[in-house]
Each structure stands twice: as structure tokens, then as C-alpha cells.
Symmetry: C2
Subunit: 231 residues, 2 copies
DNA sequence: GTTAATTGTGTCACTGAGACACAAAGATAA
DNA sequence: TTATCTTTGTGTCTCAGTGACACAATTAAC
């Protein structure tokens, strides 16, 4: 932008965006917000913005703050995806965007979203028919790929679930992320190998035997497995 | 994004650094350069600098360009590690640094490095006794952890080797990265499962049977395995 | 020739995912 | 009540790939 004293180089515009995922009705969804200003006004974009160096201790804070503005809750999981840069991705000029991907429980985040009309959950298929700003469609695909990979070897998908959940719900989330069926037996084996979940009591499900409820034990690290599920 | 004008926020200083690894004498090494200016003048730091938006098509180019200035060759492997940000990491103020990690063959990169005195290969143990600038020690440890993880499930460590190499050399590289012994049999099994290497002819090694030489097949993608090596 | 060192092969045990059968428990309808 | 349907949970077999280790093959040094 304006010339700066510290270097001979123009400092590119730096922003932080997030790809927030959840699973609703056995379908993987992404949170998008409608742009209120140029460029790409009216198009759907990833939630994000500039670092406010007075309140954001680090870029993680920026991502969390921007997500909370839209959903009213902090996501259960947040991790860096990639930093995108270049001249072609924003008509205003050279830009650098640090992108996070995040997971949240649908029930907690959706109550607030449904009251506004500039933010909504979008399924992956809808990305082809909605007008998406910048290179955000490409970024979302990249994030989806990464989430898929992660789901193969970790328990991270539990962060798409509410505090209490059943194995059946976990199975649905996993299948939505992977796009293919998973054996319940495999999930159960992993749950007690990971040793990060505990049973509580019971709960009724649509027709059929009552399912155990699980919740995440307090203060546990996410476990990675040595073997992947099959691709 | 936000409805604010672009210039409402102070844009933090943005830089690109790289953690370039190689293996020399069965030991994992990192390329460091001596700082010629304040802050941390005289300390050792990761090679990097500012994006030159006139010549760097993207941040990848910046990382490659800066590494080539120091080693005279492009690294065989380059991937984003993490973007670090905050007020505490640079005395000059709020900073954002996109860090890559990279791999190169020792023989190709070292010829040039040995002619200069402001760049050198540093072993992981030396990090404790050398003065390291900024939070770069922490970043290097992070990169090493990531490389270790990657070595468990991919063939990426071959990029620490010259064009032609033996299984024994590959074994050494892997053991230097993982910090623990690996069965030769396991490596051989993975080499022909991956199907990205081909034998060429023969070559003598320090006392003992002649070892086959391998090289990477042209235009192959790096293979990931479904199972990790043991931690 | 003998020995030492390294490369390469054969094979057994173990672990965890995939697959599938089947039992258990509740809902619904006759 | 009984029969049927649905979902949950268990038992178990197969299969693939790693770890471990024994052993054969090949070359250098003495």
C-alpha cells in the first residue's frame, strides 16, 4: 500500500478466513456469509477479515473472533489449513490470506445463524450453483480434502457433534465427511482404543434399541491412529 | 468480511521463512543464516525475507527464491508448515511469518554453502548452544516434529538424498529423521509398494556386498501409506 | 581361504481394519 | 399377547502390512 520505512517492498494485504464445517442431516455443510461490499458484492464468501492487532493476540484469535461474530459460539476445533497468496486471487491487488478450517456442533451454531440472512450453511453440492467470491470455492475443496484425510486417522470429527452423542451419530458424521460407509464395529474399536470418550446413560433413537450416550473426557488430547481407514 | 475500509487496520509486517532440512553423516541438519542487521544481529536465523510482489508469483516463489540465494539450488521438496503471528515474536512489533519446511540433498546444497560464512548447516543439538533469533528455535522444533510425522507415512524423506541412492542411505536418512532404528525389510517393502523408485545398476559401499542404486521415476506423485511406522 | 561387513530374502507373529452373522432391546401393529 | 421391524452392540474370520529375526549372498580386507 503506502510506502513503508522498514523495507523496500510493498506489504501485501493480509487477511484471515475460516472454513467452518458441520454435519446437518448426514450432509457436510460449510458456513458462508454474503458479501456486503465490493468486490464480489452479493456473492458468498468465507467468514473472515483483517487482524486487529490491538485485540487479536494472534491470528488464531482473529479467526475465532470472526467466527463468533457469525455463529455466536466458538468452534470446538480450529486448525490452520494453508496460506494463499498471489496477484490473481483478489482484483484489488496482491493479497495474502491465512485460512483456517474449523468444526462445530450444528445445534449450537445454527440457532444464531438462522436469525440472520447474511450467513448460512451451504452443502458441498450447492457450491456449484451459488456465486462464490474470490478463490473461496477452491479453498473449500482444499479444506474438505484435508478434513477427509484427518478423519481417516483421528477422532477430530467428534467436534461436529454436540456434547452428548451416540455412536450412530458419530457414524453419520464420519460417513458425511468421508463420503462412504463405515463399519460401526470399526468406530467402536477406535473409540475404546483412543480412550478419550466415556459413556453416560441412555437415550432413545428413531425406532430400535436405546443407544449409549458418549461425551469427551475432560482435558484430553486428540488421538491419532497408526492406521488409516480405507480411502 | 468486515464493512470497514481496508485501511482501518494497521497491516502487520509479513515475511516468509523456510526450515531447510538435510541429512549429513546420519544426522539431521537445518540451514541457518547469520543476521547482518538488527534486531538479533549476529544471531542465527531461518533463511527468508519479504515477498517481492513484482517477481514472486506467490509465497512459494519467495521461499524458493530465498533458499536459492543461500544454497544456489532449489530444494527438492517444499511445503507450508505454519503461519506464526503475534506481538511478542519480533521486537519491532506485530508480525506475521509464513514458514515453509523444505528438503534437499546434502551434496547439491553444501558446495555453495561452504564458500560463504553467513550460512551453515546446524544439527538439532547445536540449537541449544547457538544464539537463535526470534522464535526460530521453536519453529524449527515444530518443523522437525512435522517432518518426523510425515516420514512415518510417506516417501518424502527421499528428497534428502541425491539423485542416485541406495537402500542403506535411505535407511540412514529415515533413522536420522525418526531418531530410532528402522528395519531394512520394512523400507524395501514400502519401496516396491509405492512403485515410485526404479533400480539402475550397482555401486560399491564401505565393505560388504554391492548395493543397488535407486532413483525416483519421472513425473510421479509422492505416495502416502495407510499405515504409519511405529512411533 | 577365512573373516568381517553389508545387502537382500524368507517367514512368523501381531495388530487393527473390513466384512458379516447374530444377539439384544425397544417400537409398532395385529 | 405375538410377530415384525429397526437400530444397537458383540463375536469372529479374513486380510494386509509392520516388527522381528534368521539366514543366504556378495564383496573387501587380511
Amino acid at each position: 500500500m503506502s510506502g513503508n520505512k522498514d523495507s523496500d517492498f510493498k506489504n501485501p494485504l493480509f487477511t484471515v478466513d475460516s472454513v467452518l464445517f458441520t454435519v446437518i442431516d448426514k450432509e457436510l455443510k460449510v458456513l458462508l456469509v454474503k458479501r456486503a461490499s465490493e468486490p464480489y458484492i452479493g456473492c458468498w464468501a468465507l467468514p473472515g477479515g483483517f487482524i486487529d492487532i490491538d485485540i487479536d493476540h494472534s491470528a488464531d484469535m482473529t479467526a475465532l473472533r470472526k467466527l463468533k461474530e457469525k455463529t455466536n459460539v466458538a468452534p470446538q476445533y480450529l486448525e490452520q489449513l494453508h496460506t494463499y497468496s498471489g496477484l490473481a486471487r483478489d482484483p484489488r491487488g496482491y493479497s495474502v490470506t491465512l485460512v483456517y478450517y474449523a468444526l462445530t456442533s450444528a445445534v449450537e451454531a445454527s440457532t444464531h445463524i438462522e436469525t440472520v440472512d447474511d450467513a448460512k450453511w451451504v452443502s458441498i453440492e450447492e457450491l456449484d450453483i451459488l456465486p462464490i467470491a474470490f478463490d473461496h470455492k477452491h479453498i473449500i475443496e482444499h479444506a474438505q480434502q484435508r478434513l477427509k484425510q484427518k478423519a481417516l486417522y483421528s477422532m477430530v470429527p467428534i467436534f461436529c457433534l454436540p456434547e452428548l452423542f451416540t455412536i450412530g451419530q458419530f457414524k453419520s458424521v464420519l460417513e458425511a465427511i468421508l463420503g462412504k460407509p463405515v463399519q460401526r464395529k470399526t468406530i467402536i474399536r477406535r473409540i475404546d482404543a483412543a480412550d478419550i470418550l466415556e459413556k453416560v446413560d441412555e437415550k432413545i433413537k428413531s425406532g430400535g434399541r436405546l443407544a449409549h450416550l458418549y461425551k469427551v473426557k475432560p482435558n484430553v488430547d486428540i488421538v491419532n491412529f497408526e492406521r488409516n481407514l480405507s480411502y
